[in-house]
Point group: C2
Chain length 211, copies 2
């Protein structure tokens, strides 16, 4: 038989994962039945238990994989540079990464409350690790006199909320290209942390300062 063995979080069948991710994102974890997921895969409900011990683990595995992928991708993309360059890299990376997997992102921040306490704590730890990456950039930038940030924790949460917000309105083939969106959000992020040198280059004519 093929019943799952180890301490769960195994390589849940890709077809099952894909079906669950799609349906959880569209209808919400609580509103999707195992029978509905099975239908999407083209199988009977009982067969799902060859790939996951239960519905909760299916959700947890999706969220865990997403968060780990996020951290790994940033570790690979966010190399060195001065704080300003690192902030630009972070902003562009965050928007691009999140726009590329809207379903996973949606689940990761809408279904937190449907995780059992233990699983919730694990996902929160991963989220915290990601936030810490941005906070370190802001702290370094402040220390270097590049940013004007009274509270790095607050600024971190504010920036991440702003950036992730793109996912709520972006639609493929819309009015603005991803590159353009990244640039606009980058300018807003730089302004929000008082990094006026970064903003200056986008200014030239119409109104204000030069540094």
């Amino acid at each position: 038989m093929a019943r799952k063995t180890g301490s769960h979080a195994e390589i849940t069948g890709p077809r099952v994962r894909a079906a669950a991710q799609k349906l959880f994102a569209r209808m919400g974890y609580a509103a999707v039945s195992m029978r509905r997921i099975a239908e999407e895969v083209g199988v009977q409900a009982g067969a799902l238990y060859l790939y996951t011990p239960d519905k909760q683990t299916l959700l947890y595995d999706l969220m865990k994989a997403h968060m780990e992928e996020l951290l790994e991708a940033w570790a690979a993309a966010g190399k060195g540079g001065d704080p300003l360059a690192r902030l630009e890299a972070f902003v562009r990376f965050h928007i691009r990464f999140h726009l590329e997997r809207p379903d996973a992102v949606f689940i990761a921040y809408m279904e937190l409350r449907n995780l059992e306490a233990e699983n919730f704590a694990r996902i929160e730890a991963l989220r915290k690790a990601y936030e810490d990456e941005l906070e370190a950039i802001l702290a370094d930038g402040r220390a270097a006199g590049l940013f004007d940030v009274p509270d790095t924790k607050l600024a971190t949460l504010a920036l991440i909320a702003m950036l992730t917000g793109v996912n709520t309105w972006y639609r493929e083939g819309g009015r603005l290209s991803r590159e353009r969106i990244e640039s606009i959000y980058l300018d807003m992020a730089l302004g929000a942390v008082g990094a006026e040198a970064g903003r200056a280059r986008a200014m030239a004519a119409p109104s204000r300062e030069a540094e």
Copy 2:
């Protein structure tokens, strides 16, 4: 008998509303049963139908009341002034209003997908009306040469996402007062839209401000 009469959205019994709001916010609409709500009220499930035609209407009424309250409160608070003063008023109003009713706010943006198409469209229209209030401020500010905003629609959504984000981490009696939080977010918002006049007053020395 006391069965509801008009085209629904009546004055759903306040105790039922309060119980539903609390439970929907904590566990999610789909995960809360009518029996659980009844238990919270201290009544049997059947009695709830004296106050609402069905569960869906209970959710819709909560969201509609919240959005209308939001629009009315802003209409009362957001009087005139130049765009900079109006933006400051909006930021402070938004944070204060949202921090005062975390359950309603949480439901309003987490349970949209559980609304039937017709109800969804009505709530979205109210949300759009609120966003338009901010967008008008940004458009006026840009026209007056006060803000540097390449796309008012994007900036509107970015600012609202950033401001509403406060609700995800704020806890009563935390490290920072609401007033302090408002001020910090105000500075970030002003920076994000390139309103350097507003930020300037906070600059003086190397990092912090005094107001």
